[in-house]
Amino acid sequence: MEWDFLLVQALSGLASASSLFIIASGLTIVFGVTRIVNFAHGSFYMLGAYMAVTIVPWLLELDRSPTMFFVGVLASAVAVGLLGVAMELLLLRRIYRVPELFQLLATFGVVLIVQDVVSMIWGPVEIPGPRAPGLRHAVYIFDQRFPAYELFLIAVGPAVLALLWLLMHRTRFGVLIRAATQDREMVGALGVNQAMLFTGTLFLGAALAGLGGALQIPRVSASSHMDLSIIVEAFVVTVIGGMGSVPGAFLAAMLIGQLQAFGVLVFPKITLVLAFLLMAVVLVVKPWGLLGRPEAASGRAVLPEGILDPHPLGRAGRLLAAAAVVAVLALPLFDAYTVKVGTEVLILALAAFSLNFLVGNGGIVSFGHAAYFGLGAYGAGLLVVKAGLPMEPALIAAPIAGGAAAALFGFFVVRLSGIYLAMLTLAFAQIAYAIVFQWVEVTGGDNGLVGVWPSSWAASREAYHYLTAVLTLGAIIFLRRVIHAPFGATLRAARDSAARADAVGIDVRTHRWLGFTLAGAAAGLAGGLYAFSKGSIDPTLLGIPMSVDFLSMILLGGIQSVMGPVAGAAAFHAVKDFFMPLTDYWRLLLGLSIIAMVLVFPRGLAGAFVSRRRGAS
C-alpha cells in the first residue's frame, strides 16, 4: 500500500473522529455533572441535522456564502441546545430525586417521542443537506483527492476541544462543571444553584450534539434512523475515554476513527463490532476508561437503589399473587390472542425478573441482558433446527446456553462497578450480537433460523401457554426464594458495602459472578421459551432495543420491589400491544406512556402499590 493512500485514509479517520468527538463531548459533560445516562443524546444529534437541513438552505437562499452556512449550523446547534433546556426543565428537573436509572428510562421515552415527532414534522424520507459553500471541492493530497470539507472537520474537533478547555478553566460555569464532575455533593454543599448548573449543562450538552449533527449535513442526509446509530457509538467513545472526561473522549474518538478507517481495509465486515471489542479490552485493562477516574466513594451512607429488606408476602401481596396465578391459568378461557399475549408476558416477566435479580438485588446494572435471553433462544433453536432434536432437550439447553455465556462474560463484568460495569455488559452483548449476526453458516445471520416449533403435545396455543406458565412461574418462584435465601442476601450485602462484605469473609467477586450466571441462565430459559412461541430466532433477540425493553420493564415495575418486574413486564407489554395496532405513531404513545409513568410512579408500579398500602394503613 502506498503511503499517500495511508495518509489519506488516516485523514478520513480523523474527520470521522472529529465529528464523533463533538457529539461524545456533550454526552460526557452531561454525564459528568448530572450522572444521567442520556439516551436522548442521539436524538439531539438527529434534531441538529434536521434543524440544519431546514435552516441552512433557507439562509443560503439569502446569500450563498460560507458565512451563512456556518451561521445556519450554529443556529441549529443553539436551537437544539434550547430543546435540551426544555427537556431539563420539563422532565429531568422533576426526577432528580428518583433513582438515577429512572432518568435513563425517561430519556429513553424522549428517544421514542423524538423519533415519531421527527417523522411527523419532516416526513419519513431522508433529507439531504446542502454542501458547504466554499468547501464543495476536493483538494489534492499528493495524487489522492480529499474533500475540503473533511479537512475542515478535522480542524473543528481540536477547536471544540480548545474552546471547551477554555470554558472549563476560564469561566465560573466551567469551573462548576468540573467541580460537579469530580464531586457532586460538594457543589451542592457549597450552595451553588444546582438547578441552574444542570440547565446550563444540558444546554451545552445538547448544543454539542446538535452541532455534531448540523456539521454532518454536507456528508450525510438527515434521516430518522440517525439517532440510534450514533448514540451507541457516542457511548462507546465516552466510556473508552472515561465518563466525564472531555480529553478522554477526544482520545477515544481519535482511536476509534483510525481503527475504523484502517479496520475496513483488513476486516471489511468487522465495523459492526470493532468499537465494542476495543471498549471491552479497554475496560478489562482500565476499569475506568483511558482518562477516567474511579467514582469517588460517597462520604455519607446512602441507601442503595434496589431491593431493601425483602419481606414475606403480606396478605394483600398473597391475594394479588394468587389472583395473578389464577388469571394466568384462566387466560385460555378468553380469546386465542389473549393467550398468546399472556404467554409472552410470562416469558418477558421471567427475563425481567432475572434482570432485576442482578440490578435490584445485586446492584449489578446490566445494559446487555438480552444477550443471555437471545443466546438461550439460539441454544434451543440451533438444537432443533440444526441437530433435529425435539423441544424438550432444547428447553434444557436454553438456560445452559444463557448461563454459560453469562459465566464467560460475567467473569470480566463483575470486576467493574457502576456505569462502567453496565457499559461492559453492553459491549459483550454487542459482541455476542455481532457473532450471531455474522456467523451466517450456523446462525443464519440476520435472517435468523425458522422452524423452532414446540413438540406436538405442546403445539396448541393453550398447551404451550400452560407449559410456559409452569416453567416461568417455577423459575420466578425459585429466583424469589434465592433472593430471600443467604445467597440473595449475600449479593445485597456486597451491593450495600463491598468492604464490609469482604471483611466478614465474603468473596464478593465470586458471589457476583455466580449471581450473574444464575440470572443469565434464567434469562436463557426465557429466551428458549420465546423462541418456541415464535417459531424463529434472529439477532434482534440479542439487540440493544431488547435489553432496553427489559430495563424499562424492571424500572416501570420498580427495582426496589421483588415482584415489581413482573408487573412492569405486564404493563410494558400491554401498553405496547395496545398502541401498536392503533397508529403508526405507536412509539410516540409508548414514549409518552413511559414518561407519564416515570412522573406519576417515580418508584415504579410496585413502589406505588406499597406506598398506597402504607398510606392506607
Binding site: V125, S224, L265, T271, S460, T540
Partner: protein, 404 residues
Amino acid sequence: MTRFTLSRRALGGAALVALARPGVAQGAPIRIGELNSYARMAAFAVPYRNAMQLAQDQVNAAGGVMGGRHIEFVFRDDGSTPGDAVRVAEELLTRENVAFLAGTYLSNVGLAVSDFANQRKRLFLATEPLTDAITMAQGNRYTFRVRPGTYMQTRMLVESLRGKTAKRWAIVAPNYDYGQSAAANFKRLLPEAIPGAEIVAEQFPALGRVDAGATVGALSQARPDGIFNVLFGPDLTAFVREGNTRGLFERRTVASLLTGEPEYMIPLGEETPEGWIVTGYPVEQIEAPPAHKAFIEAYRGRFNDMPRLGSLLGYVTVQIVANMLNQARSAETEAMVDALADLRTDTVVGPVTMRGLDHQSTLGAWVGETTLRGRAGAMKNPRFADGADYMFSEAEVRAARRSA
C-alpha cells in the same frame, strides 16, 4: 384442543368461529391482514399502503370480488422485529379473522411470518422482503412472494453489463442478508456477462452506519474498473457524495441495485451520478400498458404525489389478490393457495404470473442509466426486464426447495 374450542364456544365465540371461515357469511367483506414496517420504514411502506387503499377502493367500486364481496385490508405495524411481527400476525388471524396475511418488509420479519404461516397453514403473501431464502431454501406451501428478489434484481443488472470491458470489480454492500446475498449473486453471475472479470475488493459497512470516507478510500485503493453497489437510503447518499468529491466514479462502470427506485433516487437530488446502470422504477417514463398511466393519474389525484416503487408493489399486490379470490371462489386457505399457483394476473405493468414452482411472481423491474435532469435524478433509456426471464432455474429451485 377440543375442550378449549368448546369452552370458547360456550363463551359465545361461535359467531367468531363462523366468521373465521369466510364464505359462510355471504356478502361480508373478505378481510386481509397486512402487516408492515409502517413506522420504521415509512418512506417505503406509506406509499405502499396508500396504493393498496386506492386499489382496494377501486376493486370494491367495480363490484368487489367473487361476485360482489368487498375486500378489506386491515393494516398493522409489524414492529420491525420477527418477535413483534409473529404476535401481530397472530392477532390478525385470531382477533381480526383475516382470510390471509400479506406484507412485511424486512427479510427476517418476512421469513418468520412465512414459517408462522406454514405452521398455522394459512396463506401469506410476502410482498416486499427481498431475501431469496423465502422462495428457495425456506420456501413453503403457504408463502408466495410478489417483489422480484435479490437474485432476480442482481441478474437483471448483470445482464446489462454484457459487453462492458471492466474486468476488475469492487463490491460495496450493506452488512446484512440482502447486501451479502446480492454480493454473492453478483460474484456468481458476473463471469457469465463479462468473461475474465474478477473481484478485487469488497466492503461491507454496517447498515445505516457507513463510514463513507474510509469506505470510498478503501474502494479506490483497489483500483477497480467497475463498482457494484448495493447500498441504499442514507448510506447511499453519503457514499455518493463522498465518491463524487473524491472522484471514485470517474471513468468507472458502476452497477447499482435499486438506485433507480424513486425512494432512493429522490434524496440523491443534484448529486445523482451520471451513467450508473441501475434497477428501478422510472415512473414517469413508462408508456405501456395504458393502465399504468391511469394508475399514476388515480394515485396523484388521491394523494397529490407521484407513486413510488412501494406504491406500484402495493397496487399490483391488490390486483393479484383480487384475481386470486375470483379464481379461488373462496377465501379458504387451501383454495386460495391452489388458485395462486401459476396464477396469471394482468397488472398495471403487464401480465404477472405467480410461478407455482417456487411461489415467486414474475413481476419485473426496469433497468437503465442514471442521469441528472435539472436538479433531480432520473433514469435514462429504461428497459423493462420481465421477471420471468430472470428467475432461478427450475433445477435450482427443485434442489433448494427439496432440502427445505
